[in-house]
């Protein structure tokens, strides 16, 4: 390639020439090009598929594995490389759309810090090894003659589903074990348990589209929720004529709160009490009077407006106002979310919120039963925080002899008081399967380099199934980039084939395992195709879809013992601030911090990039004389971190927030030594009913360190439009959306 020097005229000279005659200079610019012969190679495919034409893109369907919503995606492939992901229009979940997190999958594939060879522990450090060496170490513990069984083996994962889960269970069964531990630092287990107990379904379908009024208690369904792309497509319908109204009640404004028609800041942990305040006012209306038993109604009387207002910090008039809207606008939909559920009374909060749906008669209207999956063994595992506690107990009892870890990073996400690192170190055989070294893999004895999500086969079933059941099919979008990476399935099958040749030796690889399983499912889809055609068409569609089967939510159970007490939390003199860390839709629990697109994608609410920050209400900041960029020390009883202050009006005045995701100590060049890890501040408070960690119940104190550094963000010096009419807002009663095309 010609460089500026080689051209003889450098840019500065060129500008001078330009001064004399712009037009003549342009002539040179449009002149001859640096055509080269024989410098580059041009090679052809040896025996390509007929549809592969150089220069034309080919799209392959697959399934996104970046979050448990498992959208159907399409990969654009040119000359054997995947360049970009788009949504797969065949998918009932993604509907042809895709989020930023999903698009960044390709950066897992091409990450410069990918693990490309196995690593084996040698003393204090991990050293590169061959697969033979790595497998030899593994087989010493888990090989043909291994007698490890039952609780001696642990398979630790995040949320898994489909054949990934099936194979893990088969693998463990081979060791007479069912010790598959699914841990999710940001688990939504509290809400799921409540909905399971109330409706009989942990994830009933929430029909946003059909609601005229949504009241969401911290449910960030547009950002970090259970199925953000699907919910966003439904939100678009919700906003069309006749336009629905969204009310968001939460301590710290989420992306969904940023899109609400009305946003109420609430004191963290009191969401359920506010919900009961609404319920109490609601049952005064004769129409809703009948909906619930008298004992519940009596119990509700304790939640009068004044008390509720005092506890929650919301003006009592808001209750009258909201109840008025609920009476007028039906159907409604009440949602509970992470900040309401991640509390000491999280279960009770979610219970109170679902009670509103029952009183309002939303069950069967905006809340319906999901379609049953004919392949229940493929349903996602219920990943919890409690799983980590169980694991830690097993580890500290020193029973575990082998631990396999995939898709989770407990060393990074565990709160300081769990202390799993120490216990994990004592396990004789620790195997991590990763695409990139992280904090947990660094502790292991063997680290195996996995294929990236765009190189592997798999099947996935999303937790949230809004329209029938969708089984997402993952297929490689390109040949593997690094020759010494392998599919997790192939690793397990290698071990299984040695231990149980009768049942597994006929699978040459994970591909054949999945292929056989998919073909076996053919009768369910009543397909008359040949096996090969069925497999090919399944791969082409990217999804197997079981249509919606209407079933009713039969019984709704309400138990007054499960309602939150109308008590005000005692003030804490040492730690006066509530600490409500935020979940960023892209970095989530930190597993995506290694992807540069996401690091540089500004946080939607604050526009900060590449760092951690402390959100503090401008009013509080004024009282404490804190300016933007002031370095603050945030301290809980568990530890302290320092980060720059960002003045954020969308937060309760006595609450501060730090986003999850940063503060890695080992996760490649884009994530390491960047920002702080708020998991390390979390206090040992758990939800009383489920034992789940109350992520948003920590109290902290903040101190100025005296330093001030410019905060790196995308927004300019003003956060106001200054009368420039950039974003114009129209009142809903004035807009005539039905007249629009």
């Amino acid at each position: 390639m010609a460089t500026e020097k080689k051209m003889g005229v450098d840019r500065r000279d060129f500008l001078k020439v330009l001064g004399i005659s712009g037009a003549a200079a342009t002539l040179a610019g449009c002149g001859n090009t640096s055509i080269e012969s024989g410098a580059e190679k041009v090679q052809a495919y040896v025996q390509p598929e007929d549809f592969v034409v150089p220069g034309n893109s080919v799209f392959y369907a697959s399934t996104c594995t970046q979050c448990p919503s498992h959208c159907g995606v399409m990969g654009r492939v040119r000359e054997g490389r995947v360049l970009k992901l788009e949504g797969n229009p065949n998918s009932t979940i993604s509907k042809g759309k895709i989020c930023g997190l999903g698009q960044a999958s390709v950066q897992i594939q091409y990450n410069p810090d990918r693990l490309t060879t196995p690593m084996v522990r040698n003393g204090d450090s991990l050293v590169p090894a061959t697969w033979d060496q790595a497998m030899t170490v593994i087989k010493q513990g888990l090989g043909k003659d291994s007698v490890i069984s039952g609780e001696e083996i642990v398979f630790l994962t995040g949320t898994t589903s489909g054949h990934q889960k099936v194979l893990i269970n088969n693998f463990l069964n081979n060791f007479n074990s069912n010790n598959h531990i699914a841990y999710d630092a940001l688990s939504n287990h509290v809400g799921e348990t409540v909905r399971e107990n109330v409706y009989g379904y942990s994830n009933p379908v929430q029909k946003i589209k059909d609601a005229k009024l949504i009241i969401s208690f911290g449910n960030d369904f547009l950002g970090s929720g259970l199925s953000p792309v699907y919910m966003a497509t439904q939100y678009a319908h919700f906003r069309k004529a006749p336009r629905g109204t969204l009310v968001q009640i939460e301590p710290r404004m989420t992306l969904t709160g940023g899109n609400a028609d009305r946003w109420y800041p609430i004191r963290p942990g009191t969401e359920g009490i506010f919900a009961l305040g609404l319920a109490n006012a609601l049952v005064q209306h004769p129409e809703y009077d009948k909906a619930i038993p008298d004992e519940v109604k009596q119990a509700l009387q304790a939640y009068d407006k004044r008390t509720v207002g005092e506890i929650t910090g919301i003006n009592p008039d808001a209750i009258t106002h909201l109840v008025g809207m609920m009476w007028e606008r039906t159907p409604t939909l009440i949602l509970s979310g992470a900040t309401a559920e991640g509390q000491k009374q999280g279960y009770q909060n979610a219970y109170a919120i679902e009670l509103l749906n029952v009183i309002l008669g939303n069950v069967g209207k905006t809340i319906t039963a999901p379609t049953e999956n004919p392949f229940p063994q493929m349903n996602p595992t219920n990943a919890t925080y409690q799983a980590l506690v169980n694991l830690n107990e097993q580890l500290s009892a020193k029973k575990v002899k082998a631990c396999l870890i995939m898709g989770v990073n407990p060393i990074y996400t565990e709160p300081t008081f769990v202390g799993i690192a120490k216990n994990l170190k004592q396990v004789p055989l620790k195997v991590a399967m990763v695409t990139q070294l992280d904090e947990t893999a660094e502790l292991c004895d063997v680290v195996l380099p996995l294929l990236s999500p765009v190189e592997d086969f798999g099947t996935y079933v999303a937790e949230y199934q809004p329209e029938g059941v969708e089984i997402g099919i993952q297929q490689p979008l390109m040949e593997k980039l690094h020759p010494h990476t392998k599919s997790f399935g192939d690793v397990l099958l290698t071990l299984l084939k040695e231990r149980d040749p009768k049942n597994y030796s006929h699978y040459p690889d994970y591909y054949s395992y999945i292929r056989e399983a998919v073909i076996k499912s053919k009768p369910v889809f009543k397909s008359s195709m040949t096996d090969d055609d069925f497999w090919d068409s399944t791969l082409m569609n990217g999804v197997l879809h079981i249509p919606v089967k209407e079933s009713e939510i039969k019984e709704v159970k309400i138990n007054i013992a499960d309602l939150p007490k109308a008590e005000k939390a005692p003030a804490d003199v040492n730690y006066p601030f509530y600490f409500v860390p935020s979940i960023k839709a892209d970095l989530r629990d930190g597993r995506h911090a290694n992807l540069p697109w996401l690091q540089e994608s500004p946080d939607p609410m604050t526009t900060v990039v590449w760092d951690s920050w402390v959100e503090i209400n401008p009013k509080t900041a004024e009282e404490m004389q804190i300016r933007e960029g002031d370095v603050l020390e945030v301290q809980s009883s568990m530890g302290s971190v320092t980060a720059q202050a960002y003045l954020f009006p969308g937060i309760q005045p006595n609450t501060v927030s730090i986003p999850f995701g940063q503060g890695h100590t080992s996760y490649g060049r884009y994530a390491t030594n960047r920002g702080v890890n708020p998991f390390k501040l979390i206090n040992p408070i758990t939800d009383e009913k489920t034992g789940e960690l109350a992520l948003f119940a920590t109290k902290v104190q903040i101190k100025k360190t005296g330093d001030n550094k410019k905060i790196v963000k995308d927004e300019g010096p003003t956060t106001l439009q200054q009368g420039r009419k950039l974003v114009v807002t129209m009142a809903a009663d004035k807009a005539e959306l039905s007249k629009e095309v």
């Binding site: 010609a2 001859n32 080269e36 090679q43 390509p48 034409v53 040119r78 040949e479």
Partner: protein
């Protein structure tokens, strides 16, 4: 649907260089291969040594094979690419009488080892240029019904008289524009004329 052998190497970094060089390579009036000097842009490129000395003259001239039989992508894609290896083998399997020739032996060596032939690029446009083979072939071969050797020959010269291809045109922007300025008959039957597009973003990416 698994992607089988993918061996197409592409200039990965589509680095643009703002090129202001007056003389990247000196023009040579007239082509060594007897092409006519009608446009003043004839510029013979270097003879590039290829892994197999492919005889275009045998295929195109003696056997009278249509260019597009092998260069099948040219009418369907922006890039013409290089014919897939199984295309060569498809015919040569059936021609045992030439099987012992050194060039054919080499060809089968690549085939047997399932390797792609590392051809060198002769007409290498800068990476900031979007040239579309499909449109030119569709316009002048299918629409105007001109002889295929003439259509390809506008840019690639009289390849039928070459062994391995050698560049005979400047392939510079001025040369492109020269042709785009000319009046081209709309089709074989329609005598009305049009010019090629002149918009920067038509060819610059």
């Amino acid at each position: 649907m698994i992607i089988r052998k993918i061996l197409f190497v592409f200039s990965l970094l589509a680095l643009i260089v703002a090129s202001f060089s007056i003389n990247a390579e000196p023009f040579k009036a007239g082509g060594a291969l007897g092409t006519q000097t009608i446009d003043g842009y004839n510029a013979l490129g270097p003879q590039v040594e290829q892994p197999i000395e492919f005889p275009h003259y045998i295929h195109a001239k003696i056997m009278k094979i249509n260019c597009m039989y092998c260069h099948t992508y040219a009418r369907r894609s922006a890039v013409s690419g290089i014919p897939r290896l199984d295309k060569c083998i498809g015919c040569h399997k059936m021609i045992p009488e030439v099987r012992d020739r050194p060039r054919i032996k080499k060809l089968f060596w690549y085939w047997d080892n399932h390797l792609s032939i590392p051809w060198k690029k002769v007409h290498d446009l800068p990476d900031f240029v979007r040239f579309n083979h499909e449109r030119h072939i569709q316009r002048f071969y299918f629409q105007d019904k001109r002889p295929v050797r003439e259509v390809c020959g506008y840019c690639h010269g009289d390849v039928a008289n070459m062994t391995t291809a050698r560049r005979v045109k400047a392939i510079s922007m001025g040369w492109c524009i020269d042709c785009h300025k000319k009046d081209h008959q709309i089709s074989a039957v329609n005598l009305k004329t049009t010019n090629g597009p002149h918009d920067c973003w038509m060819c610059h990416k």
